[in-house]
Symmetry: C3
Subunit: 210 residues, 3 copies
């Protein structure tokens, strides 16, 4: 899936940067849990690629994109090697990593929603698949690591909500043929901005009233 009007090389660089950062978050969690190399590689792969693979399986677009271009699998393997070499050192750069993670979140929800619309899905399922593309890998990561998914926890800062807002913007723009390089970049920037502000000001999502 390429976004309309976006330079393919730039999109690929951003895409792989998102995959790397997601992979690092999976590998780091595995190292913190003292998993061995198998657990580190497994969490790196599912965190980086699980969301997009789930989207593609649900769309019936198999084998998933992550299996057709080998680079997508090599990047999590690089993350595995980095974390094996020194996961404590990587923890010191956890703040910049969170910023790149926000970029991955923003990019993946826009690309995922656009791909689902391109496959003919309606607005609601397309937006859901966009959110799944962005956050699904993290949910699988946490479930395999036997944690409650981070995005469900009341003390987590907004993560799926900005992705849902971005996906909603895409499904609004799409039927008017208004999703182009400029509007897509604005949506990605807005999702990225909301996520970074949520991190900075500890914005949280509402819970159920008792």
């Amino acid at each position: 899936m390429t976004l309309p009007g976006l330079d393919p090389t730039l999109e690929r660089v951003l895409d792989l940067a998102g995959v790397l950062v997601f992979a690092l978050s999976g590998a780091q969690l595995a190292a913190q849990k003292r998993f061995d190399i198998v657990g580190i590689a497994a969490l790196a792969i599912v965190t980086a690629l699980g969301g997009g693979i789930t989207r593609d399986v649900l769309l019936g677009d198999t084998p998933p994109a992550a299996f057709r271009d080998q680079t997508y699998l090599i990047v999590p393997l690089i993350a595995t090697v980095l974390v094996l070499g020194g996961h404590r050192a990587l923890e010191r750069i956890s703040r910049p990593v969170l910023v790149f993670d926000a970029l991955g979140l923003a990019l993946f929800c826009v690309v995922g929603t656009a791909k689902a619309l391109d496959h003919g899905l309606g607005a609601v399922p397309a937006a859901l698949l966009g959110v799944i593309t962005a956050v699904g890998g993290g949910v699988i990561r946490d479930t395999l690591a036997r944690d409650v998914p981070a995005i469900f926890r009341p003390d987590s800062t907004l993560y799926a909500i900005p992705a849902a807002l971005g996906a909603t913007a895409v499904v609004v723009l799409w039927p008017q043929d208004a999703l182009d390089a400029v509007t897509a970049a604005i949506v990605v920037a807005a999702v990225f901005g909301i996520r970074v502000l949520a991190l900075r000001f500890r914005w949280r999502a509402p819970t159920a009233r008792s």
Copy 2:
């Protein structure tokens, strides 16, 4: 999938009622675990639709039915709003909800098995897909909420067993062209009845001998 001879409007009403009740059970569990709105919506969606989506992915019928008709996704979002508004109030109607849940169980196992047979599967895999349609969403719900799946626990009342009996009845009726509106209704009523009796008299499934 429409059941033979069943009024499509009635089937749709029953189907969506089942989806709503399953969604409420997911959203309620999320609220009890103090998940935020993201967790509540996620568990509502996977509980309501996870079984049918799993069945459709395994059959290769993608995108799943739940993504082709937007109503299926809107219903769990309504459940999310209801639970956000007051999940304690909903707990007071948990007994009637269990009765509707039994109806969803009965309907989904029959519809799921019939759809699998219609896709050419053999009796055993078709019955398994029928059971997965009925109970799969609850298993995903419990796993994401970090509980042992309720239907595996020795203190749970019969749930998958009535679904398996209903699925077995469908695979017996099907090759004789004997699955029509009347026999399907009888099977649904029988599964529903066994489940309600199991709730009432606390029937439990056997465990392994030590």
Copy 3:
């Protein structure tokens, strides 16, 4: 998927032996957790067939092979009956079962990788699908039983690593048309041997450096 030059009857016997042993490991874990018959049957099925089903869904080869030949589902149901009848007695034969499990691991990683290559996948995704075929069922088993996947734990003996080595051997042999009955048997024997040695000498995989 049949391996080149391998007698189909022998391959089928080995394949079903692997399915039975994997099913027993799932059913035994369920019994140890005091799950009821539903949990025992569910873990028997997902452990035995989950890896191959995941591979087939990712390849778009649906319904999965495990649903096209009913024997694949009947074998885990037999394992369920055996464990219900006396899981303590089965524990006494846990050592020979581990040897058969190593054979299943070896066979499934070779067959799974070859099938993925046959579907046109590149070397890295094909090897990953081979490993998933061999170890994916166990990961699902442990996740449903609310355990950390055994293959991620630092105190586990090598399991996914021999499968990865076997898968790598297959992707090296394949493009040279060198995967035949003899080389496939050598790879299976090597994976089996490494796994048995890992069990005997408690070989473990590396973890991340602190």
